[in-house]
């Protein structure tokens, strides 16, 4: 092959490879994020209670402690209210009387200068509401979503298939897909799932920061109850007045 022929062949080959690869990437590579309707668009009057969630605070604060804000969604309307922003909030749960209890590792909290790692903060879920502090040295697993992944009948909800499918695992071990997305970007997944207190719904959060509620039986009809905008670090808990499932007893907390 002469030099001129080789150059021409190389140019055609390289150009062809680049054009074909570009076409493949444009046509097949762009996978849209799964879309779910907002709760406001498809309201469900059967949804009740309050969903609390905590996310990292978007702020320009330049300190070494991450600040997190607590929000409460009122159901069934889906109205969201900011409750408080505090440094280093950890796990979160509802108390049986409708207050929130959070792990609060902030070393300089706004109402206590010295805060012990064994202390928990109780928050009245209204904006600027009351705070209390209790010392609690026992098992704190009730503060985390793992505790809320098993229903009273023993069914567990969890995410599978690399986080792209929400499944329900029955006590006998059988698995049922609840909902999920076959076609999604590779970096899309559900981060965690938990039951509603009445066991009729599951609450999940995805890497888009969307808090999604879906019915556990029949058509799941997943709907977005809040768009937090945070890929990671979203913690949440659901409270239904009069239903003590997944709540912690205030007297139990006070006993430490």
């Amino acid at each position: 092959m002469t030099g001129a022929n080789r150059s021409r062949t190389a140019a055609l080959l390289a150009g062809g490879i680049v054009v074909v690869a570009t076409a493949v990437i444009v046509i097949f590579g762009f996978v849209p994020t799964p879309k779910y309707p907002l709760l406001a668009e498809e309201p469900d009057p059967e949804l009740s209670g309050m969903i609390a969630y905590a996310i990292p605070e978007d702020s320009d604060r330049d300190d070494e402690f991450e600040s997190r804000c607590v929000y409460v969604i009122e159901l069934p309307e889906g109205q969201t209210n900011e409750i408080t922003c505090r440094e280093q909030i950890g796990g979160m749960a509802w108390i049986d009387d409708g207050w929130l209890v959070v792990e609060d590792f902030g070393h300089v909290s706004e109402f206590e200068r010295e805060f012990d790692d064994f202390d928990l903060t109780l928050i009245e879920p209204v904006e600027g509401g009351a705070f209390e502090r209790v010392t609690y040295e026992r098992d704190r697993s009730f503060l985390w979503s793992d505790h809320r992944q098993t229903r009273r009948d023993g069914s567990r909800v969890r995410v599978e298939d690399a986080g792209t499918t929400v499944v329900v695992v029955s006590p006998d071990g059988s698995t049922r897909d609840l909902f999920g997305s076959d076609e999604a970007p590779s970096n899309y997944r559900f981060n965690e799932a938990q039951w509603s207190p009445d066991g009729k719904y599951v609450l999940v959060v995805d890497t888009e920061g969307r808090i999604i509620v879906a019915a556990a039986s029949g058509d799941p009809r997943p709907r977005v109850v809040a768009e937090t905008g945070h890929e990671y670090g979203v913690t949440m808990a659901w409270y239904v007045p009069g239903n003590a499932t997944y709540t912690v007893d205030r007297e139990e907390l006070n006993r430490g």
Binding site: A14, G15, I17, F30
Partner: protein, 319 residues
């Protein structure tokens, strides 16, 4: 007396070539050697040892500068950080321009300095862009990568060295993948791999065609990029597609290496054989024992192929 001159004398003595042929070979090789002798390290008085000591000193200076900067950069304002990085980059660019490329050592030093300037440009623009697009990491990285691409292209055009070739390819790959991320951050990860693969193969072909000199390192680095791209493609639901792409790429590299007699390509292809054959065997058979058997079979085939090619070549030479 050079090696080729000894060979020419030997071949003429045993009657393999005539006096005229020997004279022609001497004239040809002499004209090839002439500029090399003029540009040789001996002619300029630069020995390999001196060059090595120079690089060692340079590496120590860079390490000292790194520690120095890690101490002072956190205390500098954003303008100060950008200014310091920009100043260092300018020093690298100027030093590279100052070094003469009349000797191989000079060309190598120039390519090292300009490679450092490419990295410095990326760092400078990255620091500058962080202030502008602080919430968009992909945009910051793209700005840094594109600026590095511009400097890499200019310096490569002025000094077509192997290192310059590698830097230019890296900058193209970085800019392309980051452009995809900025245009649509929902792009499946495998398609970034496909982009890297396409650029790698195109670079390999363009190097073969003489567009991206020097050809030999260009082809090797392009083939490595193609293999890495195929590996990145082989994830999630595109695992099988990526593995097939990897196997085709390995075959392409090995055939090219054999036909063009390029040892670098053969080594890259051999590494690709090991990497992809294990994954393909695991994908098909799903057990480590099967992988071991597959490796033995592939190794046997390669050895048989090499022996057959060698015997064929010997036969052709005897004819």
């Amino acid at each position: 007396m050079s090696d080729w001159e000894k060979k020419v004398r030997e071949w003429h003595a045993v009657g393999l070539i005539s006096e005229d042929q020997a004279a022609s070979i001497r004239a040809h090789e002499g004209s090839m050697d002439a500029p090399e002798l003029l540009d040789s390290d001996e002619a300029t008085g630069v020995t390999a040892a001196v060059e090595a000591v120079g690089y060692l000193g340079g590496a120590l200076a860079v390490a000292a500068a790194f520690f120095f900067m890690s101490e002072i950069i956190p205390d500098l304002s954003e303008v100060g950080q950008v200014g310091l990085a920009g100043l260092l980059t300018a020093v690298f660019i100027a030093a590279g321009a100052f070094v003469r490329k009349s000797s191989p050592a000079g060309r190598r030093l120039k390519s090292v300095l300009w490679a450092a300037s490419v990295v410095g440009t990326a760092a400078t623009v990255g620091l500058l862009a962080t202030g502008l697009f602080e919430d968009n990491a992909a945009a910051v990285a793209l700005a840094a990568s594109v600026s590095a691409l511009v400097v890499a292209a200019i310096t490569w055009m002025m000094n077509k060295s192997a290192l310059g070739n590698v830097m230019l390819l890296f900058a193209i790959i970085g800019s392309t993948t980051l452009l995809i991320a900025v245009l649509n951050d929902n792009t499946h990860g495998s398609f970034y791999g496909l982009a890297v693969w396409a650029i790698g193969v195109a670079w390999m072909v363009l190097s073969w065609g003489g567009y991206t000199p020097p050809a030999r390192p260009g082809m090797v680095v392009g083939s490595v990029a193609a293999l890495v791209g195929a590996q990145i493609t082989a994830t999630d639901s595109f695992r099988l597609h990526g593995l097939i792409l990897g196997v085709i790429t390995v075959m392409l590299i090995l055939i090219s290496g054999a036909r063009l007699e390029r040892i670098g390509l053969l080594i890259a292809g051999a590494i690709g054989v090991v990497v992809f054959s294990v994954q393909v065997a695991l994908k098909i058979f799903g057990s480590e024992l099967a992988v071991a058997v597959a490796l033995v079979v592939i190794a046997a085939l390669l050895v048989i192929g090499a022996v057959a090619a060698s015997r064929r070549r010997k036969g052709e030479m005897l004819q």
